[in-house]
Structures are given as structure tokens and as C-alpha cells.
Symmetry: D2
Subunit: 271 residues, 4 copies
């Protein structure tokens, strides 16, 4: 088609391409979810419906975007791992982060009524998510990334469980609860829960304590194929693999990802 003399403004576009052959982690975070969760009356310290909705939206994202090998979610955040060989959008950073943010948002909002049937969304308080992409050259770092987020989940959830128990069952003001927990370590917090409220933290819902792992269960054979360098594959092979990935079940796990066990057969879901 004809081009205008204004076309030159395109030369100012600068695409950042993410380094080839590195794992891409895309982490989404709820924007202003403190206010958002208060506005819709999320239960404290954890709202099972809200977490279920996050997980359901993330699963839909994985179905739409078969390059995602696995994901980890907790609270109002979700991290998606793309395999080293991923060539989605030519690995353009802006396109990747905006598409993930948009797709997740659409799913979250669409699924909302299933999880909060009695609470319609308000136009001035719609859910939104920002996203960032981080590159990891080796599986070791991807593993440590998952561990980092799960350790974060544990630390926050133990704190929040104590805090809200002190407030909701102990009758403390939020300010007093904060003071009471200042300077305490994990052991102290477990002790507060147990001795004052008879709560064994380890019996709390494992989804609250460990967060949620989603993995695409492609089966051992396919996994081995996926691991081969993309450049050595025919177009047909690539298409066949994508089809398999689209059809693969997405498993939802609430497990420890810090120890070795989860990773010993990591080859099954990530390459």
C-alpha cells in the first residue's frame, strides 16, 4: 500500500528482543490489589475464591499460549516460565509482557462471576495486572526463582495468618497486631498461633502455605522431543509439538518446590 511521508516516525520504534536460548519468566502482579481486595470483600488472610480465580485465569493463559511450560502463583501474582527455545513474537519484550498482561486480565474478568457470583465488578474498580520479563540462562536459576517466590509466599502467609488471627480472633487492633509481631521470627509466629489460638500452622490449607504450581503435562516422550534445539526441527515437527502442547493437560499442584523432589523429573515439563 501507499506510504505517507510521516512513515519516518516508525524509525523511532526500538524493539528489545530477549536473548535467545534463555528461559523467560513473565511475572504478573495485581495493580492496587490491596484496595481491590478490600473493595470486593476478600476474606483475610486468604480468600479461597480469589486464589481459585487466579489459578483458573492462569490455566486459561497456558491454554492460549502453548509456549508456557509451567507457572507459579501466590497472592495476587503469577509467574509464567517459557522454555529456552520459545520464539513467541520473536521474543519481543514489549509484545510478550503486554500480551500476557492483557490475556490474563481478560480471563480473570471473564471468570470473575464463577468465583464471585454475588459480587459483580464495578466499572471504577476493574482488575488489572502489570507484567515484567526476566531472563534466566540455566534451569538452576529457574528453580531458584520458583523457590524464591515460594519462600516469599511462606514468609508472607505465616505473617498474615498471625496478623489476622490476632485481629479477627484475638481482638487486637491492626496497629496492635503489627506491634505484637514486630521483630518476631518464624518460630515465634508458630508459637503465637499454637499457644494462643491452638492453630498448628502446618495444618493450614496447603494452597495458602505453598502457593500453586501449574505444569503442562506433555508426557515423557514429548518432553524429550521438546528439549531438542528448535533450530534442528522441521516446521512440521514444530507444529505437531505445538498441537501436543495445546492438548496437554495442565496439572495444578500444591507442593514444595524448594527441595529436590519436584525437580528430579523437571525434564517432564520444562526444557
Amino acid at each position: 500500500m501507499a506510504k505517507s511521508r510521516f512513515e519516518y516516525v516508525r524509525t523511532y520504534e526500538q524493539d528489545t528482543m530477549l536473548l535467545p536460548n534463555t528461559y523467560i519468566v513473565i511475572r504478573l502482579d495485581g495493580r492496587g490489589f490491596h484496595r481491590f481486595s478490600a473493595s470486593y470483600g476478600f476474606e483475610k488472610p486468604n480468600d479461597k475464591r480469589a486464589l481459585g480465580l487466579m489459578n483458573a485465569a492462569a490455566k486459561q493463559v497456558m491454554k492460549q499460549l502453548p509456549d508456557v511450560a509451567g507457572a507459579y502463583g501466590q497472592s495476587d501474582e503469577y509467574s509464567f516460565v517459557l522454555s529456552r527455545q520459545c520464539r513467541l513474537f520473536d521474543r519481543r519484550e514489549a509484545k510478550l509482557v503486554s500480551t500476557f498482561a492483557s490475556t490474563f486480565t481478560a480471563q480473570y474478568q471473564f471468570l470473575w462471576p464463577e468465583y464471585f457470583p454475588a459480587t459483580p465488578l464495578d466499572r471504577n474498580m476493574l482488575p488489572s495486572f502489570d507484567a515484567r520479563a526476566v531472563l534466566y540462562p540455566s534451569l538452576r536459576e529457574v528453580r531458584d526463582y520458583f523457590s524464591w517466590r515460594q519462600a516469599d509466599c511462606h514468609i508472607n502467609n505465616l505473617y498474615n495468618t498471625c496478623f489476622w488471627t490476632l485481629v479477627l480472633r484475638g481482638g487486637l487492633s491492626e496497629h496492635d497486631a503489627e506491634q505484637a509481631l514486630m521483630g518476631t521470627n518464624s518460630g515465634d509466629k508458630n508459637e503465637v498461633l499454637f499457644s494462643r489460638f491452638g492453630i498448628n500452622y502446618n495444618n493450614e490449607d496447603i494452597m495458602f502455605r505453598k502457593g500453586t504450581v501449574l505444569i503442562r503435562d506433555v508426557g515423557a516422550d514429548t518432553a524429550a522431543d521438546l528439549g531438542e534445539p528448535q533450530q534442528d526441527k522441521s516446521k512440521r515437527q514444530a507444529e505437531r509439538e505445538e498441537k501436543k502442547k495445546r492438548k496437554a493437560e495442565i496439572a495444578e499442584l500444591h507442593v514444595d518446590v524448594i527441595g529436590d523432589e519436584f525437580w528430579t523429573d523437571a525434564g517432564r515439563w520444562i526444557s
Copy 2:
């Protein structure tokens, strides 16, 4: 809070900050809207409801994000201009593009039933948008950017109007219509419309021909203030200005942005 030994993976995060004191244009594009529009039966060559929905969603984005000075939309794309002084999210690129994509998506989906009351969204065909950020050092380039998009709107719309008129009223197959238009210039296309179908292209809906401009009408006095370097302003001043921007009306215009007229009082809406 306590930090885990996995914290080191954070050092792999690399934030791209957009150069200070340059205009930021964030352009959103519908993902797979060819298929999307077919799936929901959008009218050809233009669907007034669909364009109205784009405009309504864009207006909401401008209400949520007062740093946007103006916007231009056509077809399934929308471009938002942020003022040079904008410091939103410390000008982090990933945060900006993902937030715009997410916020626009949420609004588009929320407003959908108002514009397509008879056609509920399907979970396997939700709307999504990608986004990119482009920097322009001077107002001249911002103006040329708007002109570029409007020239693009004109070229595409003239073509599409011809094409669909040949198909829908002329009875040509899509393939034959394509052949008929191959190699034609603007004059030829106007002639086809006029001589064969009695259509004067210039009488077509101006929104189809020119696209849509949204500007935040802050009033002349405030505009002058906004133009001053951000760093010279007190926090209080900045807050007062943000309030004014939030309350300002957003005007929807269907005008020529290539000629001088629109820009002579550009100071009113952009700085």
C-alpha cells in the same frame, strides 16, 4: 522481612527506563482481530459499535491514567500520548506497556455488553491487546505520528470501503474484488465508488475516514502550568494538577490532524 537465599535471582531483572523529557506514545493493537471480528459478526467495512467500544474503553483508560494527554484510535488500534514530564511508574517500559494493555482490555471487556448486547463474549475468544512504547523527543514528531496513523486510516478505509462495496453491493467474490483494486490509486478508488455505486467517499461517516482523537480538556490556564518542567514544581502543585487532570472532560473529536489547525492550540492538551 526476612530474605531467602534465593533472593539473588532478582539481580537478573533489568528495568528499561524510558529516556526522560521525551514524549511517550503507547500503541495498542488488537490481537488476532481479523478472526475476532469475524467471530462476533462485525459489520464490514466498519462496525460502528466496535469503534464506539474502542473509543469508550480508551476514554476509561484516560480517566484511570491521568498522565495521558491525548489519544488517537482507528480500526483495532489505539495510541496514547504521555506528556514529556510524565513520571508514571518511573517510566519503566514493561510496567507501562503491560498496564496499558491490561487496563484497556479490562475496560473493553467490561463495556462489551453495552455495545454488543445481543452477543455475549465466548471464553475461547476473549479480546486481547498488545502494546508497545515509542519515544519522541519533540512535538513535531508526535504530530507526525498522529498524521501517520491518520494517513494509514485513510488509506485502509478507502480501500476497505471499495473492497466491501464491490463484494456486498457489486456481487464480486472477495478474490475478484482484490484483483479489481490491485494497482489502483486513490483517484481510481473514489471513481469506482462514485461511478459504479453513486457513493461520494467524502460523505462517508467522518469517524470511519478520520479515526478518533481524544483530548483531555484541561483549560488554557492549567495547560500553561502543565507545560512547566516537573522538577520545578512542589508536590502540592503536582497533586493539584493531577486532580485537575482527573476531573477534566475528555473530548472526542473526528477531525483532520494532518493540517495545522488542530495543532495551533496543541498547547491546550499537550506539553
Copy 3:
């Protein structure tokens, strides 16, 4: 020529292009010049030969690279300003900074014997410089950049002049001189110099106090031409201009760049 199967490693190359239509400042810094200057017995607080050598090398850089409009140097650093229209190396950042660092180094080393005839360079202590590129969207910022470096020159030189006068003429140890100056302001330092040593700081060599400005004196007519957008010029025009720039005299100035005077006719040397 034939290509090998290893060619794919090129796809990992990522060129950063500097945003068009912005001023580029490339600042070079001597690497380890504290040790370097000690090793070759530079005079303290300023060595006129060393500064002369820096200026001479910078002039040669400007002769080799006609895209440089002007430069500012002090101590072991030099900043080169490239015009907004500059297209050198397609504005690739790595190519620009490496070429400036290499060219300056070559000139500095080549000219060394002229300035230090009695002190040949030692192979284990050769001069080297690192470089960075910074973008500025407007002339205001380029001006403030020059002011920033000159203010830095002033602050450091006043301190160093005091420090070394206390040591060399006052007989203080370096440690005692440092202690004596701790917490003093400009006025105090002027007073120390004047009352104890009869030195009026303002009579010190103006090159020490103000640093050195180099500008390419292209004449008013050419300057006006240079200011026009590059894209509007014929290839022939561009070549004629480059020739003029290559032949233009490079003026060496030791003047105040913080006040308005130097910039009122800035159009003469920068566009």
C-alpha cells in the same frame, strides 16, 4: 560468500540504536588515572602538559569524527557532543563508545612525546579510557550538562588547589590537609588560600578553573544549514556539509559555560 552452519550465533547480537533526533554526549574517562598520573609524575594539583595533551587528543578526535559539534574537557575526562541529526554508525551505541574510546586513546598515546618528551610511556602503564553515551532530547539539557561538568571542575579544582597548597607549601601531611578541609565551603577554601598563602583563587590559570571547551567553528551560514533536518537534505548537500565540517577550525576556549553568554550564539556550533 558461503556461510557456515555456525552463522546462527550472530542472531545473539543485539545492537542498541540511540533514539533519533536526540543529542548524544559521549564522555570519556581516564582509567586508573590516579595511579597513572602518579606513575608519570604529573604536577599537583594540575599538570599543564597533561591537560594540554587531553585537549590536543580531543581536537584530533573532532577532526577524525566530523559529527562532533563541540566538546568539554577537564581533569582526565572529555565529553563530546554529537548533533541531533547525527547518523554516525547508524547511532549504534557500542560502536560509538568503542570508537571514541579507541580513537582518543590512539591520539593521546601518539601525542604523548610532544607533551612529555622526557618521560616515555611504560608498557605496563599505558593510557586507556572508558566511554559512555548519554542522550539529551533538548539543547537545554546539553547546556545543563556542560554546566554540570564545569561546576564539577570548579568544585574539584578549588578543593585540590587548597589541598595541594596545604601539602606542598603549608607542609601538612596529606591526611592533615584532608582533615583541615573537611566541612569547609567555597568561601572557607578561598579564605584559606588567600589569608595563609596570599593566593587569589580567581587569578589561578583559567584553564584549571573553567576547563576547556572545543567548538567547531563552521561559520554562521553553514551552521544555519546544519540545523535543518537531515532527512530533508540531498546526499550532495550532506557531503558538502561534511567537507565544511572537516575543514572548519576547532576553537579552544576557556570560558564560563554556566551563564547565558556562551549559549546566546550556540546556534553557531550546535544544532
Copy 4:
């Protein structure tokens, strides 16, 4: 020290940090070496002195910058590989490429008289080099990078050997030699050399055919230590290692790097 109000211009500086835990390859290229080599009468197709000078300069760079594990050079280019763990200059790209370009230039110029004692450098034709940095996430790619450059060396050198033999011994004009070689493959070129001039290409100087590899010979024990993640090392350990690297011999090899043999004990020099 006191800060001026111009300090804000620093906020425009944007440092690109190279992704951690990836190999960094820094490739230097002679600027305008076609003209440079003609100007100083380099022998065709290869000048042993010129290549010797490149190698000597590269060795000095490795001595100055102990983070370099190995290097590969041919013609007027040299590539330096930094280990994954390298933290030199916080992995800032501009600082790395400019420092390598500057250091190499200084050494090249300093060593010039040893290799070209009869031909002093001319101030209008000083050597200079640009540089770029490329990241590789795995050793496989580093290996393929070396192979790529060596395949390039082979292709160019076979061509140049034919070309210059046709010109210098066959009496062809440069234009006719070019025509004669157009469309020929490796076999053809070997045949031209052998049948017309009795030259067996494989007997040509191996440095011309294979280029030059430089590796830091740290010994097997140290190599194992170097391979450990940097973050797990004490500062003392790191210093000890750096000392070892500085003292290590740098071996100059002219060997095939495409086959497996060179890489089987790669652990000895790269980690």
C-alpha cells in the same frame, strides 16, 4: 562534595548491564583497515608482522584484564571470551566495550615499532578498533562462535590466497582475478592453486589458515575452582584466583577449533 543544580542531567544516563551468568564475547574490529593496511604496505594476502602484532596486543589485553578466559583472532579482528561468572565493571556494556577497544588500541600502537620498525605510524592514520559485546548462555554457543569465526577465516583466506596468487604470480588484474573466482567453490579454488601454481593450500602457514587462539593456562586445579559459582566464594578466594589468573601463562595456539578435540578439555580454560 557539594552538588550543583545541574546534577539532574545524570538521571538521563542509562547503564545496560549484561545478563548475569552468561558468557560475554567482546569482538574488536579494525576500523578502516583496508585503507590502513594499504597505507602501511601490509603484504598480501597475509602479513605475518601484522598478525603477530594483533596477537601480541591481544595477549597484553589478557594480561591487563584477567577476566578474559580465552580469545580468537584472525585478520584485523579479535574476540575475547569472558567467563560466565565475570563481574568486571558490574557487567556494564558501554564500560566493557570501550575499555577493551581502548586497551587493545593502546597496546597495538605501543607494540607497533617492534613489528614494523621501518614504518613509523602517521598521525593521520593511527590504528583504531571498534568493539561489540555478545552474550551466550551456554558453552555450546561459545564453541559455535569460535567455529563461526574460524570458518570465516578459512573461507576468506582461501579466497584471498587464490586472488592474490592470480594477481601477484598469475599477472591478472585485480578485476580479472575477481572475475576468475566468481562462483567457484572451495574445491575449485584449491584446484586453481594447485594446478596453475603448484600450491598445496594445506601447506600454507597454519596461522593464516586457522587464525590464533589464546588461552589462559591456569592449570587443572585452578580451573575447577574457577568453575564454581562466584557468589559462593569468599572475597579472599576471589582475590587468590585473580592473582593466579594474572600470573598464568597465555598459550598461543593455531589449531582447529571446529572439531571436538580442542573442546574436550575446555574446562581447563573456560568456565
